[in-house]
């Protein structure tokens, strides 16, 4: 269990990147990229976890004390999620235009930018 969470984080990064490498469709590549990014959330939250500690929200919850799960990594993961979603939106928009101009989204068929 100790290293399982970190391993899953690395696995997501690897499997997402592998998805891009073997992709035959740019939309698929963009979605795979977001899988790779989800590895970063898992890593951050795993780093900040403390066994048996409650969430760092005190209203109506636990009495204020520092024995809570690390809120800093949660704030980072939140920022990360927003960034990921907006960049994914931009990438999908670009994919739509690639298709409109090239009539294909297969990377193997997009051969104009060479050399």
């Amino acid at each position: 269990m100790h290293w399982y969470a970190y391993t899953v984080a690395g696995w997501l990064m690897l499997v997402g990147s592998f998805g891009i490498v073997r992709s035959r469709d740019l939309v698929h590549a963009v979605v795979s990229l977001s899988v790779a990014q989800s590895g970063t959330y898992v890593l951050l939250l795993a780093v900040g976890y403390q066994s048996g500690a409650p969430a760092p929200v005190f209203a109506g919850g636990p009495a204020p004390s520092t024995r809570v799960v690390d809120p800093v990594v949660q704030a980072m993961a939140l920022t990360d999620i927003v960034v990921s979603a907006t960049v994914t939106a931009l990438l999908l928009a670009l994919s739509i235009q690639v298709h409109a101009r090239h009539r294909t989204v297969d990377p193997d068929a997009l051969t104009r930018l060479r050399g």
């Binding site: 969470a5 109506g60 204020p64 809120p71 704030a75 939106a89 931009l90």
Partner: protein
């Protein structure tokens, strides 16, 4: 490069990196450790500023600069997607096909759910400094809630209720408000993005100083931004066709 060469190359790289990563995590503190030095400081700081949701305190007070930049990224992406998906020469606006009309049952459910969703969104924004959630989560809920209108009736109804430049304005203005509150902190001499308002008493609706204000600014910015983003995609999928397409 051929597909095989590409996959082999990636495989070689992965074969080097996977064991290195393994060694690295073997040197990390065990999962569930009790030692979190930054956490200790951050929780104390949040309590000092009477912000019950420590994550909100970090996002909007302690590390507010990160969030300001995050809102700016959202703005850049929304403007970017608007530019990339703008109608270009050769594009024509299609009439909507008949199947874009919704079923009566769906309409009923959506109309019933819509006000509740909007209320939940507002609630999540306003209580962001107290309970889980905040401007970002609430903003997304508000934006998606508005799109229930599309399920509820026809795309035209949504289009009429969605003068896009309003949403773009609200996004721009609220991002500017975030930056402006930051500059306000500078002007008082307390520092950029400093929490200069009275902190109130712990766990009250009016507590946390600037945190709830920034939460609201982010809520408006995110709601506006997501509406504009989804609008670009919906327009592309439903409305815009290229002259070069067949019957489409």
């Amino acid at each position: 490069m051929s597909r095989t060469v590409r996959l082999v190359m990636f495989g070689v790289a992965a074969a080097v990196l996977a064991p290195l990563f393994g060694l690295a995590i073997a040197g990390a503190p065990p999962f569930g450790t009790a030692s979190h030095p930054y956490r200790d400081l951050a929780v104390a700081a949040a309590l000092r500023n009477a912000t019950a949701n420590v994550v909100s305190s970090i996002n909007f007070d302690q590390r507010g600069l990160d969030t300001l930049v995050e809102e700016t990224i959202l703005l850049a992406s929304v403007v970017g997607a608007t530019i990339v998906l703008r109608a270009s020469t050769g594009d024509v606006r299609r009439e909507l096909a008949g199947d874009d009309r919704a079923l009566a049952a769906v309409t009923l459910v959506s109309v019933a759910v819509l006000p509740g969703t909007l209320l939940i969104g507002l609630d999540v924004v306003v209580h962001g400094h107290l309970t889980p959630g905040g401007g970002f989560q609430g903003g997304v809920v508000l934006a998606t809630g508005l799109h229930l209108l599309y399920l509820a009736s026809r795309y035209e109804t949504l289009e009429r209720l969605r003068p896009l430049h309003w949403y773009r304005w609200s996004e721009g203005l609220s991002t500017a408000a975030f930056g402006g509150i930051g500059v306000g902190g500078l002007a008082t001499g307390a520092g950029f993005l400093a929490n200069v308002l009275p902190h109130g008493s712990f766990a009250d609706l009016l507590s946390g100083g600037t945190v709830p204000l920034l939460n609201i600014a982010v809520g408006v910015a995110v709601a506006g931004g997501v509406v504009v983003l989804l609008a670009q995609f919906l327009d592309q999928a439903l409305r815009i066709a290229s002259e070069r397409d067949g019957k489409g």
